[in-house]
């Protein structure tokens, strides 16, 4: 019954989306009249009901997974009754159909949220936006209902399910995909806003102010999702570490880069009414990158270690959706943007100019990631098989990130409209001095490894100093919340960059074959293999090594890396043990035994590696503060108008 209810809700939600699109289209064709007002008034409630229906449908899917209803095909294929409750729950989106339903649910909720919360935008533009949102949703509804029904039943229910891929049986599954999806699909709102504004030719500060919180919100989730995914890939062995330039990772990075650029350009549009066409284009590109990423990952056209739901036959369907939406939006852009009046212009040395530089550099990075990701497809079209990996990306993107960081040092210190080079020079002297001193100290005292990581550390320190400059000599209680947001987000960039550079410059690795009782040393630690014993979990059995570790004369502590054997489906996973200290992480992995009773042990000491994710969290926190600050400030006049 629950599955049928879910399917019914899904069909009804699709009908709502169709209704929403048709009403918006009819309404926008006419210019005035009573029908128009009635149509416009009805679009909002329909969008809200549609959002509720998709939520109900998704709740039904969760319910069949929690109840382990094996008569539902998807549950039988991806779940198992002996699985811990958390993974029954999160397993609902650990597969193709479920994750597409999650995607559509976020899309529906986003549409409902625009209808419910957006009161600043001109009515016609809002209706056009909701129409665009409905059009996107319809395509994905069609995809779900025609090609990937998550509620399909089996005639004969099996005794038990086939289980969830053990690599996915991790708390990360409960957090990482939903946050990432909220981010991806949240960008659809920016896309719909852009399409709406192009339809009504209404691109200006009001449009930018209305769009900004949505972009910011999606970007916060995207940042958190990527940070969480990066940490998950880091502690799950075999996924290549915290960043691997894998196509799936790049698929999440590209929308993030576009959204980061959009976030900055929309500020120029909101504050100074400049960069109209560019901002609209970026809004289109950001969500296009989300869809392109989904396509690349799902179609199996690129090979990835993170792809868990590959089906080439479905690729064609997503490709058709891509052609329709991205192609349509870009054609609309080309047809309409000429008729949108140009916004304000500005001097080269101004905050606007700095933000343009930020956008240019982010776009170049985005372009490089896109080229690197797609190049294997281009090469394969010409008959060569190759893969593009870290060597390409590190060499091309590393230097540009450094230039971007340099721009980021100066950017927030430059005034809007116009500024003086001499005045700017006085302001940037402190961060530049900090970076130079740091660089000198590193060259003198640190073991030299690579120029890029040394420069990365020095630049990070300079940026950390520069990022707090906007609060310098200001009344800290009166500084607006979004200024704090900016400061913390930029500080987060510095912290994250420091973590990445430190990891690549100072990480130490040891691979040993150790007998029980053997001592090993790694970095500042002395490690002793105390013993190996069998352990048993809820749906796995395993072997656990006991390592006792001492740093200098400090207290001893124990680490327990494991090998786990899952029965459904039969898989062996390696559970790394990680000890986190203020200045880094000790990472231990238990490998295979050899015939002489020795065990393979792999140990890493990674100084300050945690800064990578700490920085990511800071960036998201900065975004959240900024979002709250903006909403508070912009809510005030609206409230005053309403209750005056």
């Amino acid at each position: 019954m629950i599955a049928e209810a879910g399917l019914a809700a899904l069909w009804l939600a699709a009908a709502c989306a169709l209704l929403q699109l048709v009403m918006a289209a009819i309404g926008l064709r006419q210019t005035r009249g009573e029908t128009i007002d009635q149509l416009f008034a009805a679009v909002r409630p329909v969008a809200i009901v549609g959002g509720l229906l998709t939520t109900i449908s998704f709740a039904c899917l969760i319910a069949v997974f929690l109840r382990s209803d094996m008569s539902v095909l998807l549950v039988a294929q991806n779940s198992h009754s002996a699985k811990p409750l958390l993974y029954k729950f999160a397993g609902a989106w650990g597969n193709h159909e479920g994750s597409m339903l999650l995607w559509v649910t976020v899309l529906g909720i986003a549409g409902g949220a625009i209808a419910l919360l957006e009161h600043r935008l001109a009515e016609r533009t809002l209706v056009a936006t909701l129409g665009a949102q409905a059009a996107i949703a319809l395509g994905f509804f069609a995809f779900l209902l025609a090609a990937s029904n998550p509620f399909a039943r089996l005639d004969q229910a099996p005794a038990d399910g086939m289980g969830l891929n053990p690599f996915l049986q991790d708390p990360g599954l409960a957090f990482h995909p939903p946050t990432l999806y909220i981010g991806y699909v949240g960008l659809s709102v920016a896309f719909s806003f852009a399409v709406g504004a192009l339809v009504t030719r209404d691109v200006g500060t009001a449009f930018a102010r209305a769009m900004r919180p949505w972009v910011l919100g999606a970007w916060i989730f995207l940042t958190l999702g990527i940070t969480a995914g990066s940490y998950w890939a880091y502690y799950e062995l075999g996924w290549g570490g915290w960043w691997f330039w894998d196509p799936v990772e790049n698929a999440s990075l590209m929308p993030w880069l576009a959204a980061t650029a959009l976030l900055h350009s929309v500020t120029v549009l909101a504050t100074r009414d400049g960069l109209r066409a560019w901002t609209v284009m970026l809004a289109v590109i950001a969500f296009s990158m989300s869809m392109l990423g989904t396509f690349l990952v799902r179609s199996g056209i690129l090979t990835s270690v993170h792809a868990f739901a590959v089906d080439p036959s479905r690729g064609t369907f997503i490709l058709a959706l891509l052609a329709l939406y991205i192609g349509g939006a870009m054609a609309l852009f080309a047809l309409r943007i000429g008729t949108v009046k140009a916004g304000n212009t500005f001097e080269l040395l101004s905050r606007e100019g700095a933000l343009v530089l930020n956008n240019l550099l982010l776009s170049v990075i985005l372009g490089l990631v896109l080229i690197g990701t797609l190049y294997p497809i281009v090469a394969s079209a010409f008959g060569t098989q190759l893969s593009v990996g870290a060597p390409f990306f590190d060499k091309t993107i590393g230097p540009i990130v450094l230039i971007l960081v340099a721009a980021l040092v100066a950017g927030p210190m430059i005034r809007w409209r116009r500024d003086q080079w001499s005045a700017l020079a006085g302001r940037v002297i402190a961060p530049i001095a900090a970076a130079v001193i740091a660089l000198a100290a590193l060259i003198l005292f640190a073991p030299f490894k690579s120029v890029l990581s040394l420069l990365g550390l020095a630049f990070a320190i300079g940026l950390a100093v520069a990022s707090v400059a906007p609060l310098w000599k200001r009344d800290l209680r009166r500084a607006p919340l979004f200024t704090y947001g900016m400061v913390i987000a930029h500080l987060g960039v510095a912290v994250s960059l420091a973590g990445m550079a430190s990891d690549s410059a100072f990480t130490q690795e040891r691979l040993v074959a150790a007998k029980v009782g053997d001592p090993v040393s790694i970095g500042p630690f002395r490690v002793r293999l105390e013993g190996i014993k069998p352990v048993i979990g809820p749906n796995w059995s395993g072997l656990e090594a006991r390592l006792s570790i001492q740093r200098g004369d400090g207290a001893k502590f124990i680490m327990r890396p494991e090998q786990r054997f899952f029965a459904n489906p039969p898989t062996t996973t390696s559970e790394a043990a990680i000890a986190t200290r203020l200045d880094g992480q000790l990472y231990a992995v238990l490998g295979q035994p050899d015939t002489g009773g020795r065990w393979q042990l792999r140990l890493w000491w990674k100084p300050f590696v945690t800064f990578i994710w700490l920085g990511g969290v800071l960036i998201a926190l900065g975004g959240a503060l900024s979002l709250i600050g903006r909403l508070r400030r912009e809510r005030r006049p609206v409230l005053r108008e309403r209750y005056a």
Binding site: A277, M281, V284, I285, S288, F295, S299, G300, I301, P312, G315, T316, L319, L322, A323, I326, G327, M330, A331, F333, A334, I337, G338, L374, I377, V378, S380, A381, Q385
Partner: protein, 175 residues
């Protein structure tokens, strides 16, 4: 802004779409290309796996006639499935040698009695050394070695009925 320039994003996207569509419509090629194809057989010399059959060394290949080299094990289920097709190849006049991986004489003898014996020689590869040298990652795998002792083809996995004709062609054309 230039009237044509604003179509650039659309055109770039259309190009990308065309590329991806052609790539998607092409049948996926799952052939494993061995880096050793075209190279001479790596050197190995294995003792006999059975007392009544000669062992196998790389020097025995490349004496003018193409041969098949089958990597198998008595404990491997797909090897049972491919056994009748190896017998067919033998009846067609193809000469087949084998490397038995991590196996015992008793088990090999039982396997050959039950599923047929297409092999002229069987080398005993106790620790998978020869298998690894050949770049073979599992059992069964079959190599076609030409008359000059070079690897012409690597067939990964069991031989199925529809592979037989292709293998015979490869052997006949490998002089």
């Amino acid at each position: 802004m230039n009237r044509w320039l604003i179509w650039l994003p659309f055109i770039a996207f259309a190009g990308l779409l065309g590329l991806v569509a052609t790539e998607l419509s092409r049948p996926t090629d799952r052939t494993v290309r061995s880096a050793l194809v075209g190279k001479p057989l790596p050197a190995f010399a294995l003792p006999p796996a059975l007392p009544d059959k000669p062992g196998l060394a790389s020097a025995m290949f490349g004496q003018g006639r193409p041969r098949l080299l089958n990597v198998f094990a008595s404990w491997c289920v797909p090897c049972i499935a491919e056994a009748p097709h190896l017998m067919t190849l033998k009846r067609e006049g193809v000469e087949i040698d084998a490397i038995a991986v991590r196996d015992t004489p008793d088990a090999i003898r039982r396997f050959l009695m039950r599923h047929g014996d297409p092999y002229s020689r069987i080398g005993d590869d106790k620790v998978s050394a020869a298998q690894l040298a050949l770049g073979s990652s599992g059992v069964p795998e079959t190599f076609v070695i030409d008359g000059k002792g070079r690897i012409v083809r690597q067939h990964v996995g069991g031989i199925r009925a529809d592979d037989v004709a292709g293998l015979i062609d490869t052997v006949r054309s490998a002089r």
